[in-house]
Amino acid sequence: MLIAVLLGFVFSLLLVVAGKFFRGKPAILSAIIPLSLFVYFSGFINEVSGGGVIRQSFKWVPSFGVNLGFTLDGLSLLFSLMITGIGFLVFVYTSTYLKGHEYLDRFYGYLSMFMASMLGLVLSDNMISLFVFWELTSISSFFLIGFNNKSEASRKSAITALAVTGLGGMSLLAGALILGSVGGTYTISELLNSNQVIADSPYYIPIVIFMFGAAFTKSAQFPFHFWLPGSMLAPTPVSTYLHSATMVKAGIYLLMRFTPILGNTEFWNSTLLIVGAITMVYAAIHALFRKDLKGILAYSTISALGILVFLIGQGTEKALLAAALFIVVHALYKATLFLVTGIIDLQTQTRDVTVLRGLRKVMLPVAIAGFLAAISSAGIPPTVGFLGKELTYESTLALISMPVLWIALILITKILLLYAGFVAGISPFVGKLPEQFANTKKPGMLLWLPPMILAVTGIGFGIFPALVEPIVFPVVTAMGESLGNEHLKLWHGFNTVLWLSIATIAIGTVLYFILKPSQKLVESAERFEFLSPKALTTVGWAYFNKVSSLWTRIFQNGYLRNYVSTIVVFLIGLAGYSLYQTAKFDLDLSTLNEITLYEMAVVAMMFSSIFFVVFTKSRLTAVASMGVMGLSICLLFVFYSAPDLAMTQFSIDTLTVILFVLVLYRLPRYLKLSDYRTRIKDGIISLAFGSIITVLILEVLASPVDKTISKYYAENAYVLAKGKNVVNVILVDFRGSDTFMEISVLAIAAIGVYALLKLHLKETDQH
């Protein structure tokens, strides 16, 4: 499985060197990768539907409990099949869609990087590796949305998407870390056993909030949904693959994956129900006010994601089955509709539904695919969409609290989605072909075949539900619910669910004939645009920028001494205040060393050297005083039992003085640059800082000291490391890695000095 995950990364690396080759005709060859992965994962269907779970684990950072563990259960398998299957079709489609594009190889690189990270995400059995793959999908999505990097709008949407999903990623990391420390492991499958501990822990609510933060941003739930319509500026294959079929479902995947661990509580279920319901209705209504095909599809995707969250929130096995089935249904019809839209866009150069008409005459296969997807989206039998809708109604009807409200909401959503599906999948193809499209070229087979395959699969699953059962049933098993002897079927007899279905189809169809998308509708919606989360975020963003640039101008003014004095003054205030509040000044004088004459002499030397360094006008005096200061410190080390330090200090002091004498003579004399007042001000600041340090030291000396570590080192120096000079043993043995880093830093400093002096800057020589 590791190879399966890494294959995509390897391929995208390969493209870095072999990009030229893949830019031309052989581009389509890259589709072999998702195809072979699809075949590989299909091989597991039998085993997994029989209840098998395949696990593999590779050590990564074992000391932090981070392993590259992979699990293939029903849930992972469903997603893996979708990722690779739709991935294959998208790879094929792209080879024609972006034929001759100068960066086609790059596009494939991003696409396969995305595919690999998405596979890693759904297969990960470790929360940390899950997080890493999660972020990788955000990053590859950023590159793909911003693929038209010459368009400003495209770059902006890419940044918005990255910011929103990146925020979600941080939230995921936070949630995972807390969950890991509460549950005692980062392995998801092991957490299953401790779900009771987690639910009882005081951190349960924060964990769930963080997890929701991740899932809602990734899966575009209200109010984080606004990045998704913006991301529609990406090339259509990207919208198909990332922003309808796979990546946006990562949030759904996360929720489903953690349902057995975190789910089944009041907080979990009701939050998901409410957020899902708001999202599905809000986005479905929005879809009415769009005339751009991709805009309509984007909002109907958000709405569908809302339905999924809503279903997961219900939490019953029936609802989870409905969710699993709806994931398949939605992926099939929405990917088809996106691909169809892409073809229309490519051939006619427009996506405006108000002008597109009668295209069936020029692209019949595309029209058929669009029609099939539209009826699947509408839930008209015998499509798989019908099965999904029936299950959704059935499970919603079984809700205990307020079933009427929920049914009403889901009914409205379904009606509006049916409308959106018809507008996107049917309306461009019916009616009279306008003059301007009469000469539209027929799309090639590689373009229309992928959507056709998807659409026909949707019908096939509807007619033979037994085909889809081995894929969706294990999902529910993987989430810890058992289904008993359930089977999917088209005909359930005359019951409430059927009447609801009939009502949906009837009202939706009527709506489609009455309400035509028009410029007016779009404008009426735009009037309220300033209230949308997107607009509010943009405004907030602008203010944020303003404040930060103001802040920067005040504090980052480029004068070192202003930075230093700001920091120091702040520190004085902070430390002074807390010392004033807490300091007790009860230093026990009897524990201190007594003052001897020779010590006083050394201290006097120190003071005079400090004085000379600060106030002398001659550089030589300053350097000599520095030497004296170093030697006095060396003497202090001698007095207070630190022979190693004394030796080192002595040698370094000598070398520093030599260094200074060598260089300083080539530097100018001191200038008296600051005026009297500045110097007084600086003097006060520094003296205040010095006093704070003194008080701080006395405070620390008055409090007890913990010597556990010192004791450990002292006791084990000879026993474990065969050394008697404990300082040296710490340096070369106990903390050897630190010392190694230190000598590396020294070497770097020496190389820096060498480079600064020996390698002449070219520009300065020319001046």
């Binding site: 080539r666 474990l720 340096l731 070369v732 890695s737 190389i751």
Partner: protein, 136 residues
């Protein structure tokens, strides 16, 4: 500063100081001393020599650029840290030769690590000071 006395003295002092620095290095595990101090003393010996006889003399004496000591020392320290890995022990585990060696006491990977530190310190100090003297 090139007086006869200093010149004569320094050519005798150099070997004495170098031997002293190695002495300080080797006794570091038991008594005050070690790679850092030893390295500094050795470099001071060379700096003194350079002051008395001129940099080119010292460079001739050294035969190679002191900068080469840095990678050698780093490699030595790294290898002595890596060695336990071949015996399936964690990085930086101390390894000790069981017997006693007459002058040095017991020998272990920590000693080689310290020698690495010594070499790096000599390399760094001499590179810095020689470069400065060279370019001024």
């Amino acid at each position: 500063m090139r007086t006869i006395i200093l010149k004569t003295a320094s050519s005798y002092l150099l070997p004495v100081l170098l031997i002293f620095s190695v002495f300080i290095l080797l006794r570091g595990h038991y008594l005050p001393g070690g790679g850092f101090v030893g390295g500094l003393i050795a470099s001071m010996a060379y700096v003194l020599h350079a002051f008395a006889n001129g940099l080119s003399d010292t460079k001739n004496l050294l035969r190679f650029h002191p900068g080469f000591l840095m990678p050698i020392g780093l490699a030595l320290a790294f290898v002595s840290g890596m060695a336990p890995l071949f015996l399936d022990l964690p990085f930086m585990t101390g390894l000790w030769y069981p017997g006693e060696i007459p002058v040095l006491g017991s020998i272990g990977s920590a000693l080689f690590f310290d020698i690495g530190v010594y070499l790096v310190v000599v390399g760094v100090t001499l590179t810095i000071i020689f470069t400065i003297v060279d370019t001024i």
